[in-house]
Amino acid sequence: MVSRIRKTPTKKLPFLLLNLFQYNTAVKKHSNCLCRFVEKMTYDQDLAKDLVQDAFLKLWDNRAKVELEKSKSWLFTTVYRLTLHWIRDNKKTINQLDFIHQSYEMDNPDLQKILAGSLVLLSETQRSIVLLKDYEGYNYKEIGEILELSESQVKVYLFRARQKLREYIVDLKLVL
């Protein structure tokens, strides 16, 4: 007989949840990197600020549910979802963003900045994975939790994203 162990719902201890001071520390720690993440996704600084503000408002509303340790990943997940919603609502595609990308590239001829600009070529998922991996230093498992993907899926997405970026850099070198 196969016995199934039922998982009992664990009650979250109140001291593990966010309070006012912990919320403020979360703001101080993560607001900048969240803004950077959204800006790299949308190439719009003001929009990035707005979306991050929305995410923190949601965090404040759900402070009774969110655990302190998971607050960063929770914030990234919400910001990612908000960004995707915004891109879908405003029908911004890679082609439409190309213009922004070009202007971004012209102003910043540095290789790292070109690379940051070339993220436009990637899909939203690929871009967010690259950003989370390179800028935030998350591992596959954490990225999977944020974007609701399996570890192997994250790995495949990342491999394809890097392949695209590499090809873009090679093309640029040939042109220059």
């Binding site: 403020n24 803004c35 950077r36 600020k49 503000q53 390179d134 491999f159």
Partner: protein, 232 residues
């Protein structure tokens, strides 16, 4: 697993990701040395990794997002400080009191006024219960004793204040009995002799006796008694 042209990119990717073991990475490096055409591939893969810029941007969103506790709000600075000061002063004073002082404070005897007040209120309540109520069943009038409020009577130590005033009130539902019975009724509750009651005023007992005596004579009262003074 052997490194071939088909899977070289996979190996380079994993090498840069840091997933490869030392043995596998050594194998990869040997393969690249043996096949130098893959060196450019190796270097371009390395370039595909974005790095965090040294000078990070400050977005200055913190001010908008930070939530201050209630005592930081401008409106509440003064009252909260006052409250804290008062609370602290109270705590300090309270801690200075010894346990003996506290016990003395708790068992502080009642004042004479308080005792008198309590006694008077009890006596007044007893007295009220014993006051007779006059009724005229035929007429529309009813005579009821009107007191000062119990508290007023209790506070004033003057015993004259406890004498009742009478008020004439219109009877809303008069009881019409037989035409011949023109007599007035005096409803007197049972009076229990109480020696303590006499302490208030001896005249009260004498009043009741007089009233009882009068009722035996069947006094006829006017059918309508209209008070001249409203405060009668």
């Amino acid at each position: 697993m052997k490194i071939t042209k088909a899977n070289i990119e996979q190996y380079i990717f994993e090498y840069h990701e840091g997933i490869l073991t030392t043995k596998e990475s050594n194998l990869l490096m040997d393969f690249i040395h043996q096949n130098p055409q893959y060196e450019s591939l190796f270097s371009t893969w390395a370039m595909s990794y974005a790095h965090v810029e040294q000078e990070e941007k400050e977005y200055q969103v913190e001010k908008m997002l930070l939530r201050n506790p209630f005592w930081h709000f401008g409106k509440f600075i003064v009252p909260s400080m006052l409250f804290l000061a008062c609370f602290g002063y109270f705590l300090l004073n309270d801690s200075d009191l010894n346990n003996e002082q506290k016990s003395i404070k708790k068992e502080f005897p009642k004042t004479e006024n308080q005792i008198l007040k309590e006694k008077n209120t009890e006596q007044v309540h007893e007295y009220i219960n014993r006051i007779p109520v006059y009724e005229n069943s035929k007429s529309r009038t009813r005579i009821t004793p009107l007191f000062k409020t119990v508290n007023e009577m209790a506070v004033s130590q003057n015993k004259k204040d406890s004498i009742p005033y009478f008020q004439v009130v219109m009877n809303e539902n008069p009881i019409y009995e037989k035409q011949n019975s023109d007599t007035n009724h005096l409803i007197v509750p049972k009076i229990e002799s109480n020696s303590e009651l006499k302490t208030i005023d001896n005249r009260v007992d004498s009043m009741i006796e007089k009233q009882q005596h009068k009722t035996h004579k069947k006094i006829k009262l006017a059918e309508k008694i209209e008070p001249i003074n409203s405060d009668f």
